[in-house]
């Protein structure tokens, strides 16, 4: 019935990975030298994979659109990285990490993959420390941990508020070492625009040199995608400006299935939008919710006075404030999971109680905490975050409440992969955020860094060998074969088509419109009618883009507009798929909230009988609707239950 | 010289510079003897000692080597620095750093010009390369000095040169410590203060002599 075979090893979940490693095929060192691997992306997953594969002896080519691998957006992760080290002796174990991750993902992730993730988590910490990553330490000189959302143990390793940066620089240093050793060749400032398949297997890519505009062909025995998430489909997100879906999307168009595209994570504590020129949203760490209290005015007249600047937030008496999270979720209060907190903020703002000039923000107030703990204690905990906020908003959180609003942050969906992280195209792998595999419908804090590095350092180097062992007789490819020529020609034609569309509007104009549609209809809350409307609007936008975009400059020079145009063209198509996926999933789970499916108290209502599956979409042509395949999820270890934070 | 690494060049410059700094202290000591109202006896004794003692003769060679090293490396390093930014900025740097630290090369040049002149006036006469002015013996540094300083423009030039040397030193002393890696969270601030005080002492100390000669010597 379906082509999806996750190829999960037999045996108890705790032994699957060991069993797999014992049984998988190996490639001998002499043969590794003859095998080429392309890695796309140099974030945590890509850099760690390229470095590890290079070290094993493969010939690696690594691509990134940035000027150097160290700039990939993993660098912006603040909070930390989880591992089941149990250093604090608080009862942690691989099983507990596995359990928390499955539950946090609202039971929409694959057990075997998540268990393996929990198992290798400890090795990541060991390796990073050996690389010189300066994790936070106790006065004893040993590593310290902090707790994070969705867990009852302290298992998060961190490097102040810059854990992602430090981990990425670790992976980058390992990568640099391999580049110096000659096992890895770096291709920076390249956009990967297409996959090349030979006899149904991934055998190379077509890339555009962003400086010269040259269309390049690169051949290899296997291709690894590590191009990150697609949150920029919403235009405004916490992603980097260049973050894009293009490599994944070109793989999708060549036959790789795209799983759960509608699962996006909206982070509740971001700095709100200030105006129409805004290009980017900035995240404020989730840790702020430990001490900040979230509220909006309870009375409409106060809302109006605030907006007219007749009163200050502190003028509103306690009795006239609505601490809506504490009201709705007395047990967890301000510390409910991300998806719940985000929706509650949206609910209040939609009801008209939002604050700030635009009315789409809520207060995060530290007045009580400052009173209780003292200015200095708050400063030592959140000083750098307060500073960052003041830098952007020009208001001091010590004096007036912060204003926050949810923003798109992470995408759980991505290319469908099996246990070996291989997509439905043989020889094409997807690792890190660009695959769908480990976070289900909602990701827990400090788990993205863990997954990226687990995939790159400790999973892919094993699983790719199992595939390449059968390729040792395949000679190096000639990138002048007809497959490469056709693919390169198609890319060139597409670029010319976009360039010559002869329209009047800039790429950003269309991107903003797409973002508005996605945020309005496929954001924090979705419903059938809205999704139908969105499908119509996106199709319309796609046609308008095709004939209405204006690209200055030429194709054979540095031209950021053509780069953006290719990305936005793909985002528009992806947007449509996200809407279709959101529409078919007639339940609410994790980050996916369908208004029709909620409890009487307004909480997400899962439907495990009908929707405990991974929805994987298969491309069926430019103007045809993609086809849905289902991978039923088997829960053998964990009993499904309703998440409750009341 | 070009083959040395950038840090090695800087380290050699710093070492030579610090050596010159200690020499300045000795020189100042001798100069201040001019202030003693004994018709130049103390000064002449010191000058004769400096001119005849064999150990000082050796030290003199080291001193010249120090000057040479410091100046040559200074030229090489400055040349490389200029080459490292072939196209300049339309708006030059407005970072709030110590202004003169960016002009070590320039203050160094002024000091070198002074040094050249100083050699003509004293050292070259001493070794017989240049004839002394009429009526003054080859080794009569005392009267030679008084003669020079009684010319106001010379005294002015002398004082200005030492102000620039002071500026040069103010940055140079802590800079040498930084270059040599002698940096410590507890002591570095003290080094900076001592360096500044020292540079002021040198500038004022050397300037006292011409001021004394001009305004006080024969007027008391």
């Amino acid at each position: 019935m379906t082509r999806l075979n996750a190829r999960i090893p037999e045996g108890p979940v705790a032994e699957k990975w060991t069993a797999y490693k014992s049984g998988s095929k190996l490639v001998n060192p002499n043969n590794k030298r003859k095998l080429d691997i392309i890695v796309i992306g140099t974030g945590l997953a890509g850099a760690s994979a390229a470095a590890s594969l290079g070290q094993l002896g493969y010939n690696v080519k690594v691509f990134c659109y940035q000027d150097t691998p160290r700039r990939a957006h993993s660098i912006a992760a603040q909070g930390g990285i989880n591992a089941a080290k149990n250093y604090p002796n608080d009862g942690d174990s691989a099983y507990r990490l596995f359990y928390d991750t499955i539950k946090g993902g609202d039971y929409r992730a694959r057990e075997a993959n998540v268990y393996r993730l929990a198992q290798v988590s400890n090795q990541i910490i060991d390796l990073c420390v050996a690389q010189g990553v300066p994790f936070a330490r106790e006065y004893s000189g040993l590593l310290t941990n902090r707790s994070f959302g969705g867990a009852q143990v302290s298992r998060t390793f961190y490097a102040r508020g810059q854990t992602g940066q430090q981990l990425l620089l670790g992976a980058y240093s390992a990568l640099s070492r391999q580049i110096a050793a000659g096992t890895v060749k770096l291709f920076n400032r390249r956009d990967v625009l297409d996959m090349v398949l030979v006899d149904g297997k991934a055998r190379g890519i077509i890339a555009r040199n962003l400086v010269t505009g040259e269309i390049e062909r690169h051949a290899a025995h296997a291709v690894v995608l590590a191009n990150g998430g697609y949150g920029n489909v919403f235009f405004l997100s916490t992603n980097a400006m260049g973050s894009n879906v293009t490599p994944s999307w070109s793989a999708f168009r060549k036959g790789a299935m795209f799983a759960n595209p509608s699962f996006t994570q909206i982070h509740p504590t971001c700095i709100p939008v200030h105006g129409d020129a805004q290009s980017k949203l900035t995240l404020m760490s989730e840790s702020l919710r430990n001490d900040g209290r979230i509220w909006v005015p309870a009375k409409m007249k106060d809302v109006e006075k605030l907006r007219n600047k007749e009163i200050k937030p502190s003028d509103i008496p306690e009795a006239d404030r609505d601490y809506y999270l504490e009201r709705r979720y007395p047990a967890f209060g301000n510390l409910v999971p991300r998806d719940v907190a985000s929706r509650a903020a949206k609910e209040r703002c939609d009801a008209g109680y939002g604050v700030g000039a635009t009315g789409v923000a809520v207060f995060l107030d530290f007045a009580d905490a400052i009173k209780r703990k003292g200015h200095d204690a708050i400063d030592s905990l959140y000083g750098n975050l307060f500073q960052m906020y003041e830098q952007i908003v020009a208001e001091s959180p010590y004096e007036t409440p912060m204003m926050i609003y949810p923003a798109v942050h992470y995408t759980m969906g991505g290319l469908w992969v099996d246990y070996e992280l291989m997509t439905t195209i043989p020889g094409l792998y997807a690792i890190g955020e660009c695959n769908f595999s480990d976070h289900g419908a909602n990701r827990l804090g400090a788990s993205a860094l863990m997954q990226g590095l687990a995939d790159g350092y400790f999973v892919l180097p094993y699983t790719i060998g199992n595939y390449l062992a059968n390729e040792i007789h395949t000679p190096r490819f000639d990138n002048t074969s007809s497959e490469f020529t056709l693919a390169a020609q198609a890319v060139t034609d597409r670029l010319k088509q976009i360039k010559n569309s002869g329209g009047k509007e800039s790429v950003d104009h269309f991107h903003r419109r797409l973002g508005k549609i996605m945020w309005e209809y496929c954001g924090m809350a979705r419903n059938d009618a809205g999704l139908t409307e969105a499908l119509y609007l996106i199709t319309e936008l796609r046609h308008e883009f095709a004939r209405g975009v204006k690209i200055p400059g030429g194709l054979d020079e540095y031209n950021p507009e053509i780069e953006k145009a290719c990305r936005v063209a793909d985002f528009i198509e992806l947007g449509e798929l996200m809407v279709r996926d959101a529409q078919q999933r007639k339940e609410s789970c994790g980050g996916h909230f369908r208004e029709e499916y909620q409890t009487s108290e307004g909480e997400a209502l899962r439907n495990d009988d009908e929707f405990a599956f991974v929805g994987a979409w298969e491309y069926s042509g430019r103007d045809a609707a993609a086809k849905l395949h289902r991978e039923e999820l088997q829960f053998n270890e964990i009993k499904l239950s309703q998440r409750s934070y009341k | 010289m070009f083959l040395y690494s950038s840090i090695t060049k800087k380290v050699l410059m710093a070492l030579a510079g610090l050596f010159l700094v200690t020499f300045l202290c000795v020189h100042l000591g001798i100069n201040l003897m001019l202030l003693k109202n004994d018709g130049g006896r103390a000064f002449s004794t010191a000058a004769t000692f400096m001119g005849t003692n064999p150990l000082i003769k050796v030290a003199e060679i080291v001193l010249f080597a120090g000057f040479l090293l410091h100046i040559l490396f200074g030229l090489v390093v400055s040349g490389q620095n200029r080459a490292a930014r072939p196209t300049g900025y339309a708006r030059s740097n407005s970072s709030d750093t110590s202004f003169f630290s960016k002009y070590m090369f320039h203050t160094g040049i002024i000091v070198s010009i002074f040094l050249a002149l100083h050699f003509c006036d004293f050292y070259f006469i001493k070794i017989g390369l240049v004839a002394p002015p009429a009526g003054i013996a080859i080794h009569d540094f005392y009267n030679r000095t008084l003669l020079l300083f009684s010319t106001p423009w010379y005294s002015l030039f002398y004082i200005v040169s030492f102000i620039f040397l002071g500026i040069h030193l103010n940055h140079a002393i802590q800079s040498a410590f930084q270059t040599l890696g002698w940096n410590h969270s507890k002591y570095t601030d003290a080094v900076k203060v001592i360096g500044s005080v020292y540079s002021v002492v040198i500038a004022i100390g050397f300037s006292i002599v011409p001021i004394y000669v001009l305004f006080f010597l024969n007027k008391v």
Binding site: A130, A159, R160, I392 | V11, N81, R85, T87, N183
Partner: protein, 257 residues
């Protein structure tokens, strides 16, 4: 707010460049510097002009991509922020703003305000790492690291590799960048093992890239958006001297079968 912008325009590495004047109007004081440039570019695109190319990516001050020399300061007039975190309220209405690329021989211009900073990558490749392989490392808590050292290493490791130190330096020296990496690794026991060879290789590579020499003006520290201290340069000097003076002569060990 309204501004007059004087922007360096240059087609490519070989073309001749010049400062070109533009006017922007209606800018919100809450806009970031790049959002102001976005507004300019949108106007240029729709009116048939040629948009200004500049490097930017994360726009939250951590990736180190952005690189503008604004009114004589890398990353503009506000201390401790990158250009992407610079907001227009830092300027006065009607100001004339000079925007130039980083200027250094080691950073050739790619287009307009974009420069090629791969020289910094090459220096890291020369030795800015601990030579460990994936796998086969001891448990993370096997080697305790004194907290002060670990914290100091972290402070050095927060360098974002933007190159502002080079741009600010009157000599276009990259000493702060390299000093930070050398210090970060030399302070940790994990990096100590190969500290002597690392510093020599990195300095040699730095010299080869055509950067200037350090003359301790400390403009780099002043303009570093992450506040990296010049104490790291002193530490590198110390490491370098120690390595040159005291490390044994390198022996080539021939592997025999």
């Amino acid at each position: 707010m309204n501004f007059t912008l004087k922007i360096w325009r240059q087609k490519n590495v070989t073309a001749k460049g010049e400062m070109v004047s533009y006017d922007v109007s209606g800018i919100s004081p809450d806009s970031s510097f790049f959002e102001m440039l976005d507004t300019l570019n949108q106007k240029l695109i729709t009116t048939g002009g040629d948009p200004v190319a500049f490097d930017h990516d994360c726009r939250e001050g951590i990736c180190g991509t952005c690189s503008l020399y604004i009114n004589g300061r890398p990353h503009g007039p506000v201390k401790g922020v990158t250009t992407c975190q610079l907001h227009m309220r830092a300027f006065k209405d009607g100001d004339t703003i000079f925007i130039e690329p980083w200027r250094a021989k080691a950073f050739p211009i790619i287009r307009d305000l974009i420069v090629d900073r791969s020289a910094l990558d090459k220096i890291i490749q020369a030795g800015g790492y601990v030579s460990v392989n994936t796998g086969g490392v001891p448990d993370a808590n096997t080697i305790p690291v004194p907290k002060e050292k670990s914290d100091a290493a972290f402070d050095a490791a927060t360098c974002i590799g933007c190159g502002a130190c080079v741009a600010a330096c009157s000599n276009a020296a990259a000493m702060l960048f390299i000093g930070a990496k050398v210090s970060h690794l030399a302070l940790l026991p994990q990096g100590r093992v190969e500290a002597a060879t690392r510093v020599q290789k990195m300095v040699a590579c730095m010299d080869k890239q055509g950067f200037g020499n350090c003359s301790n003006t400390y403009a780099c520290e002043f303009d570093c958006p992450k506040g990296i201290s010049v104490a790291n340069i002193a530490r590198m000097n110390r490491e370098f001297l120690g390595a040159k003076l005291f490390s044994e002569k390198e022996r080539v060990i021939k592997e025999s079968l």
